[in-house]
Symmetry: C2
Subunit: 475 residues, 2 copies
């Protein structure tokens, strides 16, 4: 692979000029203007790119990629820059393609239940456009006001609505993608079924900009919820949460829309950090579940179902306290509590973020074992997990007195998940942060397949170098 | 690529001996014993393989592939041999790996809602194993008694349950795959979320044995239905069917499990061909819908919902007649009618099978235009379409007096779908039958990507040569 390059200021200057000719000089940012695009949201990674370039459409993206490929300059596509693993942060000497100008919602079709959107549309704007047609784009992440569709797809975003509707990959019916050689693949089909060749849409989703740059997508929509019930529930233990989930599934699996876990410690930390938050329940508990049931029917009688399950769960000792939202405002307040957990931990200081998944049945064991190994390693650690219990995905986050211990703690938590057939990155992806873990966990045959696919679609290593694959292994 | 080979009887003999050493001589079939494995179900393709080999497990599959790769002999994996495009039929001089001995249901987990099965388990056996645990593997195809999981996944099978639960790809959480070099990729993870590298499971599903041979899978299950309502409905027109679908979605999208279309001509042909079938309605109609609503709840009140929608649809002139199944036997009888349509057409003689998909909103236009072009080409044609209306997937089948006209008719029907952004193979795949269409429809950039992936994972062209890619284009 020929991605290795030496500094060459003349060439760099020529590339930037060429890109300026493509997008117009006003859309090439350098120096202070470029700074916001050079560091990730968590402040873990900073790069010094040659420039940040803001193309207007797929043709300009393609021309930019072709110019960079010709000069062997790495290209990092960037959306809202809300990723948690540094996947959209440039390394030195690269070009950032910021896709925020591709922001057209091209079409919302209420019969086909499909929308076609460009990469730079924020998730929130896309969801609003769907809502205006009485539909829902069922993907909820805390950063949806900033995160853009291109990045959401490139990282196969998950969030709080995946329990019923799956991740971004499950919602993607078709894509438009700029390839490493600057050609455009138009796969913008809006078909529910299409067995004509390999599943390219599924492959590009989650490839973190290393196989192609997504410029537009056809996304599956669902009818908006006509009935919603949200409850905040204290459970006796993680095992009790699992038992409670089983009762809900048996009562009405099809209506269960979210089943989120919040540790007591995570809740208390949020209450301390975020103004205006209050504990929905009277007395503190160690484990909570935030759940939502919903139905497209306006007259679905979900509340009696939920009340009956809660009564059964209380009688069985699984649930110790619960509150049901009585209004839209109360529903929003309960969800706001869940959505601020990450922000609260960020504000509280040095956080180790884990993004573990295990088979759902193993969550209680995982929570217990992971806490034990962390406390053994660092007695002063604050264990503040929360996450998507119903998907087996726990953000086993830690407040550490000394940030230098982060890596050892992450590794220890990972090993617990690994012993349970789990994953070290359920929804955040690999980016720059987790390339080491990927090689370690998925080594051998699996990394060879990844590498073969990368080489096949980006033989010169132009697209997002150093992401998914460690810098020196594939550039 | 080095797949081109000249006849070499000594080498062929050595390969077969080597395979016999791997699987035991009793599991190498030749001559008359091999014949059932050499022709596809429709009788369109026949090959003369060197032998049919029946490995017992993934390790034997791997050893067989390695032996064939070393000798540059093509390998065709075969399950139940029920495919409709010749994807599992060998060409001359190849080896058939028949996977029916890999028939263990390894695990059914009612908490994780996952089953782990080997490739040779029939779809029916897998569904029965799930049902015994109170769960459902939600994939229904007419051939489920013979079709095996490996083939179901290799072809990304669809069928009558995809409206709610998606195709085989959507159900596959993890796979075990033998690669072209004889190594085994163990991707048998049972995680709902796992963003660690490229979506290999999604890529192998639907790759028709050309990228790897699936030997086992972890599949997503759902709670079994506690309430089911099935109705057979005469609709005034295809547009009326679309309007009726909209009413059902608005009433209870989450409960809609199937929405199948049957043309009057297809029904009458089935009534004539299949003994014991009877018309569920009193008077003949031109267009029918077979629909199912279901819920995991045992006490879900779906019948009143369905009756209300039917009343509204009748009042609006969308529905002209309807019958609701009153018992499990009646439900089965209605579904049997739907499932025999393909068999009835096969019995009735020369059939042209189309497997079109279009955006759902375009189905009425498609049905009308496709019928018009067929009658224009061949006035004696019998137009007998049916299919998965709710997925936009219509089997626009034709009874032709002269089989030689099949290709021209298929092409003409395809062009109508193409003009609507459709697909020429929604669920049957490419196999040998549709390699020409694939090149024509998905030419240029898309075929280049397919080719790059094929070359990356099977550089010597050992796996299922001549499938997906035409024989002389990639061997």
């Amino acid at each position: 692979m020929s991605g290795i390059r030496r500094p060459d200021h003349d060439r760099d200057q020529r590339v930037v000029e060429r890109l300026g000719a493509v997008v117009g000089p006003g859309h090439v940012l350098r120096g202070a203007d470029a700074a916001p695009f050079c560091t990730d949201w968590r402040g873990l990674f900073t790069g010094a790119p040659l420039a940040v370039v803001r193309p207007a459409d797929a043709a300009q993206v393609a021309a930019c990629v072709a110019a960079c490929a010709a000069a062997c300059v790495g290209v990092v596509a960037q959306g809202g820059n809300t990723g948690l693993c540094g996947g959209a942060t440039p390394r030195d000497g690269e070009i950032v393609l910021s896709l925020g100008r591709l922001r057209r919602v091209r079409d919302v079709d209420p019969v086909d239940l499909v929308m076609e959107v460009e990469a730079g549309v924020t998730l929130q704007a896309a969801r609003l456009a769907a809502a205006e047609a009485g539909l829902d784009l069922p993907l909820g992440i805390a950063s949806e006001g900033s995160a853009q569709i291109g990045g959401v797809l490139a990282t196969n975003a998950g969030g709080t609505a995946t329990l019923r509707h799956g991740t971004a990959r499950d919602l993607a019916l078709g894509l438009e993608v700029v390839l490493a050689d600057g050609r455009i693949w138009n796969g913008l089909r809006r078909l529910r079924k299409d067995n004509t060749g390999y599943a390219l849409t599924k492959l590009f989703v989650g490839s973190e900009g290393t196989l192609g740059i997504i410029t537009a997508a056809c996304l599956r929509l669902v009818p908006a919820a006509g009935t919603r019930e949200v409850a905040f529930v204290a459970v006796a233990s993680p095992e009790a949460a699992l038992g409670f989930l089983g009762l809900l599934r048996r009562a009405d699996d099809a209506a269960l829309a979210a089943f989120e876990y919040i540790s007591g410690a995570a809740l208390r930390l949020a209450l301390a950090q975020i103004e205006g938050l209050s504990d929905p329940l009277g007395a503190p508990a160690s484990h909570y579940v935030l759940l939502e049931m919903s139905s497209p029917r306006a007259d679905a009688l979900l509340r009696p179902v939920l009340e009956a399950v809660l009564a059964e769960a209380m009688e069985g000792g699984l649930v110790t306290d619960a509150v049901l939202a009585a209004s839209e405002a109360q529903r929003d307040a309960l969800w706001w509590l869940r959505e601020t957990l990450g922000e609260a931990q960020q504000r509280a200081g040095a956080t180790v973020k884990n993004d573990i998944s295990v088979p759902i049945s193993r969550i209680p064991d995982f929570l217990r074992q992971a806490a034990a190994v962390c406390v053994a390693l660092e007695p002063g650690v604050g264990v503040v997990p929360f996450g998507h219990f119903g998907d087996g995905n726990i953000h086993f986050n830690l407040m550490v007195p000394d940030a230098s211990q982060g890596e050892a703690l992450m590794h220890a938590v990972g090993e617990v998940a690994r012993g349970m057939g789990g994953s070290f990155s359920a929804e955040h992806g690999i980016g720059q942060l987790k390339t080491g873990s990927l090689g370690e966990w998925r080594g051998g045959v699996e990394m060879d397949i990844f590498g073969a696919i990368k080489d096949a679609l980006d033989p010169r290593g132009v697209l997002n170098p150093g992401k998914i694959f460690a810098c020196n292994s594939r550039t």
